[in-house]
Amino acid sequence: MIEKLAQLHPEIALFAATCIVMVLGLAKSSFWRGMSVWVTGLGLVAALVLSFFSPQTDGMLPNSLPYLKAMIAAIGLMILPLMGGTVDRWYERTVGRGASFDPLRVTRGEFYAFYLLSLMGVMLCVTADDLIWLFLALELTSLPTYIMVAMSTPRLRSQEAGVKYFFLGALSAATFLYGFAMLYGATGTTQLQDIAIHFRTEGMGLIGTLGLVMALIGVSFKIAAAPMHFYTPDVYQGAASPVSAFLAFAPKAAGFVVMIQLLSTVGWGWGEHGIALPEALRITLWVIAAITMTFGNVLALLQSNAKRMLAYSSIAHSGYMLVGLLVGPGQGPIAGNGLGAAMFYLLCYGVMNLGAFAVLACLEKRDEHGELVEIETVEDLRGLHAARPGLAWAMTLCALSLLGMPPLLGFWGKLGLFTSGISAGEIGLVVIMGLNSAVAAFYYLRLVRAVMLDTRDEDMDRPALTDMFGRRVAAGLSAVGVLVVVIWAGQLQAASDHATEVNPRIRQFNERVVEAEETPVIESIARND
């Protein structure tokens, strides 16, 4: 039991930080309330450090803990400076001007608590090796985000986004719960290992397959894949930019990890090369990936609103990562590993997407009611290079990296997907991905041109820079990351390949089954308790 606990050290660190932050949030002196951000940061750093020491699990992805948890903590740390000043900035100002402090009105503590809880949920998904654990972890990831979206800005549109996100989230939760139920029904256990073995020995059966597919589709709500993508643009537009940035990474990471674990119960030992998913599942995922990519890119073309455009682009990027999932661990020791490529792309996407949202978060303008509001449309971004060259260069680098322009990080992520896609023989999907990134080039270039190349005639009101210094740090971090992380691209790719090795025991099991040699059922039941 103790060694099981060792796997949860990072989560424990986060949980401790959550408790402290909750309390600090209500402190009387504004200094201590301000400290809640730093405690969150401290918690994340602790989690980052502890995650490197996390041992090997016997779940579906045995040695995925260090890489994935470190990635989640690191990207969480990069998003944190962006989060500063999202909630009750006005209330703090009024308190600063002497109004009496009313603990009920202060929400900053809860906000950071929710942030930490959600990240903890994602980490729990990584360590999960049981359906119940998965269900709880997924719910823990998404429930805090519903609230964060609703409370992110005092404007009406955040509430609308919150409503949509909550209700559709609940619908998807019910779907994948039902899927889990059917999986449990088909195999009699909720341990992923045993489900895998059961699928190996008795095959999947109707309920098993339908259950797995329903679970996959339910979870694909988190990564905004094809049928479940409807909420994304409205929620990203409604929520404040920092929260949208968070939404673009955390649930997506949780979604992908859970889908990998679910898919690895079935294993990639099928198909004529023995490296593909079962035919029905492969075709479904193929169709979902293709539709997701195309929907995301095609709809983003028409957008004049930058946040909606980045929302659609996040759908498209999920489509690209699905290609990696479809390919699976591949049979080559390293390069053919689709899962590794997908996880490495997730890291790249986390870094570069953050920058785009950060630049939007940095700028404010007065809307028709006269109050300061974050900028949204591409029109507001025009001529940024004249006023704020630093931010303009950050947006350009992130947009070009999202596009896949070679020397930047995005290209190396996409290259990993290309090589693994082709090595698995999915040339059709790879060509679709190529064409899609060409279509994507159009709207990313519109961003680059608006920011770098257009000039702004003076009479239009120029968006002012917010006083939140943290947001500019986040933008800077992301821009530098896009340029500098390329140097360690090799090591990171290798680490993510190593992390996504499907449990050798299952793998040998797969091979053994391929030779159709029977394993004694009793031995598996005995291990059950």
Binding site: G332, F411, F418, T419, I422, S437, L445, G490
Partner: protein, 547 residues
């Protein structure tokens, strides 16, 4: 190591220019590009011309003697920064580094606002282009090949003329889509390599060349069309050329010169370096198709030039027509054709680049490119007219100047390829005399449209736009700076026209190695019967080699 220095100098220059004040930007840019040129010439001295076919300047590990990469980038995929150059790359690098300083010098008065950004991106573009020609690793080649898009996009968008935004977007998207498909083809070949070497990936050009030969004919056909999709757009070959006239008319002078001088050569260099060695069977089989496309391109673009009123669009279409010859020479699959097309790449870079300089100088004075508004400038600008007529004659392919050498050898290569049955001079190959005969009519069309342009712009009664007033800084005719831009190009045109044999000598070895596989494949096919008239290829046996 020297090649890495060649790439880093322009990048360092870009950094320094970026930090320097706006006024000195152009002089610093000139200094750095000249430094790059000096380094390139020094590298040319160091290059061992005795055996030009060998890849030089790349570090060898002492034990096995084969090439070790400079700096491993993504070890799991075998991607590394490995540089090396044979004589073909050497010449193209020299062309790039020569055009660099000239472009900077040429745009002193042309670029007045946002000068710093212009020179920063110009230097980055030069670094990327040098990188392309020096890369021995496929992904490094692809990275630089793609990265030339960004500076060009900025140069056209910021410094172009009327509808530059549309031109920039179209240029970027067109090439980007093509190269995405080419990437799929290249990765496929790398994957074939990994299946042979049980999972060890490598993107080194030499390794992939060995692996590519084991591909079956159908695989090679798919890879051929994938690679062609990417490189044909860059050349540009006939159906995919519509971005070039738009990009040229909207690009600033320096942009146009580099676009015509070097960027178009990326496509032909790509075909030379990757398509011929990687997919010899498919090239041998589809060579006649590619030849037909390039011949259509020659005549089609030639006739279009004849009815143009915009000078820059005319010269742009002429590049489409001229590069048709270059590709024709490549697919002739013999030494004369191959060497001719490489010569053509360099000569076209010099003569068309110079033509764009001349048009740029005229544009600076009269702010119009339409031949209806301006004409008979010989009276007003005699020195400019001399250079204009000189470079027109070079690009028309007048013997004694450089255009002729490339054009004649490409045509002779096409003529003799597949004419082995006629006589001793013939070689095995997919094309034949009929191809050369039709392509040669392109020489007449070239004379028609180029003399039409010279007749309208240089000769004839003087006609100046009505609102024309003498330019404040520029004298009526060329000043010293402008002459120093054009003079070296003119001298080179003459030198390469009169004494190209050392260059041809240097090209023999690399061209031989590149076309060896494809030529051997085409000779295995039935020799093209001369009197059958059409180049119908009968396959003796299928090149199916099981993996």
């Amino acid at each position: 190591m020297t090649l890495l220095v060649l790439i880093l100098i322009p990048l360092a220059g870009a950094l320094v220019v970026g930090l320097s004040p706006e006024r000195q930007a152009k002089w610093i840019a000139l200094a750095w590009t000249s430094l790059a040129l000096g380094a390139a010439i020094f590298a040319a001295f160091m290059f061992d011309w005795a055996n030009p076919g060998v890849i030089q300047f790349s570090p060898k590990n002492h034990a096995s003697g084969d090439l070790t990469p400079l700096l491993p980038l993504v070890p799991s995929l075998g991607i590394s920064i490995s540089l090396g150059a044979d004589s073909v790359s050497m010449f193209l690098i020299l062309l790039t580094t020569l055009l660099g300083p000239l472009c900077v010098l040429g745009s002193f008065t042309a670029i007045t606002e946002r000068v710093k950004t212009f020179y920063v991106w110009l230097l980055i573009l030069q670094a990327a282009m040098t990188g392309v020609f020096a890369a021995r690793d496929l992904i490094l080649f692809y990275v630089c090949f793609e990265f030339t898009l960004a500076p060009m996009f900025v140069l056209i968008s910021l410094y172009g003329s009327t509808n530059r935004r549309y031109a920039a977007i179209k240029f970027f998207l067109y090439t980007f889509t093509g190269s995405m498909i080419a990437l799929a083809g290249l990765v496929y070949v790398a994957w074939v390599y990994s299946t042979i070497h049980n999972g060890a990936w490598s993107f080194d050009i030499a390794d992939m060349q060995h692996a590519a030969l084991t591909m079956s004919r159908t695989e090679q056909t798919w890879v051929l069309f994938a690679l062609l999709a990417g490189f044909a757009v860059k050349v540009p070959l006939f159906p995919v050329h519509t971005w070039l006239p738009l990009a040229h008319t909207e690009a600033p002078t320096a942009g146009s010169v580099l676009l015509a001088g070097v960027l178009l050569k990326l496509g032909t260099y790509g075909i030379f370096r990757f398509v011929l060695p990687f997919v010899p069977l498919a090239v041998a089989e589809y060579a006649s198709l590619i030849a037909i496309i390039s011949i259509i391109g020659i005549l089609y673009a030639g006739f279009i030039c004849w009815v143009q009123t915009d000078v820059k669009k005319l010269v742009a279409y002429s590049s489409v027509s001229h590069l048709g010859f270059c590709v024709l020479g490549l697919v002739a699959l013999n030494m004369v054709g191959g060497a001719g097309s490489v010569m053509y790449m360099i000569n076209h870079g010099l003569s068309t680049g110079a033509l764009f300089f001349c048009i740029g100088m005229m544009y600076e004075r009269y702010h119009t490119r339409s031949m209806n508004e301006v004409g008979g400038l010989a009276r007003r600008m005699p020195v400019w007219s001399f250079f204009m007529v000189f470079f027109t004659m070079a690009s028309v392919g007048l013997p004694g100047l450089n255009g002729f050498v490339g054009e004649f050898m490409a045509l002779l290569g096409t003529f003799q390829s597949g004419a082995r049955t006629i006589g001793a001079g013939g070689t095995h190959g997919p094309l034949g005399p009929w191809f050369a005969a039709v392509a040669a009519t392109g020489m007449i069309v070239a004379a028609m449209y180029l003399l039409y342009m010279v007749g309208r712009v240089v000769f004839g009664p003087l006609k100046e736009p009505d609102h024309h007033h003498a330019h404040e800084t520029l004298p009526a005719d060329l000043n010293a700076r402008e002459i120093t831009v054009l003079a070296p190009l003119a001298v080179l045109c003459v030198v390469l026209g009169v004494y190209p044999s050392p260059m041809l000598r240097a090209l023999e070895a690399p061209v031989a190695t590149t076309i060896a596989a494809a030529r051997e494949a085409s000779s295995r096919m039935a020799p093209v019967p001369m009197d059958s008239g059409h180049a119908e290829v009968a396959l003796i046996h299928d090149g199916e080699a099981s993996r």
